[in-house]
């Protein structure tokens, strides 16, 4: 079985300092993977690479068996399978509906289907009835959930979540957790980062620990392994 992601000798440097150095790491398709580590341990950098938004300084990244060539054309194609949700997401100007529908429109999803999927996604995050609200007028929590709806509406193969539970109140954490827990059943592999060790036990998947840009441990094999 080929790994979903396979990293070989990946190094990412900012200036003279390596912010990420991973000799080998594999991530299997399916399930929920957690990436833990203190702030500055390289979690966000790794997520950017896995979302194909940033390229490594050195090394090879394979996605579903295909070596990523980092050219504009193939990146655009790969990005359509992977969606990253930032820790403090940016909402576009316009309504909540327009935000959630935008990625679907890019993919050529037609009007009726698009509408249905937007409404389903908003319902999943508990924002039914928010479609016409101005995205810029939402509270922090509502904005976070709108961004979540925008990501899951795309039904991506991989959903990368950067600190999905930070700055969210208790009740919302539970909603988010159950939503995330339901993703693998819909065919989406989830990789989330957290610096809160208490959260780690709860997703109940595989855990990769990062420290100073290096993988310290990976457990929960076989879906995740340091080779």
């Amino acid at each position: 079985m080929t790994a979903l992601y396979a990293l070989e000798g990946i190094r990412k440097s900012r200036g003279p300092v390596f912010s990420l150095a991973i000799p080998a790491l594999e991530l299997m398709e399916g399930g929920i993977h957690a990436l833990s580590g203190a702030n500055g341990s390289g979690k966000s950098t790794l997520l950017s690479l896995l979302a194909f938004l940033d390229r490594p300084t050195e090394g090879r990244l394979r996605f579903a068996g295909e070596t990523v060539s980092w050219n504009t054309r193939s990146l655009a194609r790969l990005r359509r399978q992977v969606t990253l949700l930032h820790q403090s997401p940016w909402l576009f100007r316009g309504s909540v509906f327009e935000n959630v529908a935008w990625g679907l429109a890019l993919r050529g999803v037609n009007g009726g289907t698009r509408r249905t999927r937007v409404f389903e996604a908003l319902e999943a995050v508990g924002l039914s009835g928010f479609e016409k609200r101005d995205a810029q007028s939402l509270s922090g929590g509502e904005a976070q959930r709108t961004a979540m709806a925008r990501a899951i509406a795309l039904e991506p193969r991989v959903l990368l979540l950067d600190e999905p539970y930070s700055g969210v109140d208790r009740a919302a954490v539970e909603t988010a957790e159950s939503l995330i827990a339901s993703m693998p059943a819909r065919g989406t592999t989830v990789l989330l980062t957290t610096h809160d060790t208490a959260q780690l036990a709860r997703p109940g998947g595989n855990i990769i620990r990062l420290a100073e840009g290096k993988v310290v441990s990976a457990k929960g094999a076989p879906s995740c392994a340091v080779v």
């Binding site: 504009t72 403090s88 935008w102």
Partner: protein, 231 residues
């Protein structure tokens, strides 16, 4: 004292009488400024976005060039365009000199750097998350760029208004390239220069007031619209 009040009185009479020469000059001014800004925007907005967003070798030089071009005196722009479109110049055969198109050509060169620089500033000041967000939602570079432009549209409109104002208010290019021909290439600013030269200060002030009113109306209009689209 009398001098000033007389001038203002003459100005009001002029406005109320709706003099056809003045109407023609006002229309020419507006048309020339509108054409200039529309044509300048086509290259200037993409250039401003590119310089503001991308990191490429020579970027600092491009920023410097844009900033310097903003400060080029209008008369120099007029002179350069004159040398190109004069019958002795490379484009002499087009017979552009002393036509409104000649002023538009100069206006494009005046407005372009302003629009590009202001768009660049808006792009640099925009949120860093816009482009990655658009891309992770599946946009290629072009669609992401368009989405980015839509997100900073307030800044882009402000840049266009500034460029429009520059063309509307300048006199050097309009005089040199248009020739201040009555009913044809006479703009509000060249008409003011002419009336001042004739000692008709009242008419000059009147034209100035009309020009200010036009500029004010355009600005109010854009501001109203911007406020509506503001969150």
């Amino acid at each position: 004292m009398d001098f000033l009040t007389d001038s203002v009185r003459a100005a009001l009479v002029l406005i109320l009488a709706l003099d056809p020469d003045i109407a023609s000059a006002a229309l020419t001014s507006l048309q020339v400024a509108a054409c200039s800004i529309l044509l300048a925007a086509i290259p200037a907005i993409p250039v401003g976005l590119a310089v503001g967003l991308l990191d490429f070798p020579g970027r600092r030089a491009a920023v410097l060039a844009l900033n310097s071009l903003m400060a080029v005196p209008t008369v120099l722009v007029g002179l350069l365009v004159y040398m190109v479109i004069s019958r002795r110049g490379p484009l002499g055969g087009l017979d552009l000199l002393f036509t409104p198109s000649a002023i538009v050509l100069g206006g494009i060169l005046l407005a372009g750097p302003i629009v590009a620089t202001l768009v660049m500033n808006a792009a640099e000041g925009a949120d860093r998350r816009i482009i990655p967000t658009a891309m992770t939602l599946g946009a290629g570079p072009l669609r992401a760029g368009l989405k980015f432009a839509a997100e900073i549209r307030l800044g882009i409109v402000a840049a266009l208004v500034a460029g429009f104002g520059r063309v509307l208010s300048e006199v050097g290019v309009a005089m040199m390239l248009g020739g201040n021909i009555r009913g044809y290439t006479r703009t509000m600013t060249t008409a003011i220069a002419l009336e001042t030269g004739k000692g008709e200060f009242g008419t000059g002030v009147g034209l100035g007031l009309i020009l200010m009113t036009i500029a004010l109306l355009v600005n109010i209009l854009f501001n109203l619209v911007l406020q509506r689209s503001r969150p």
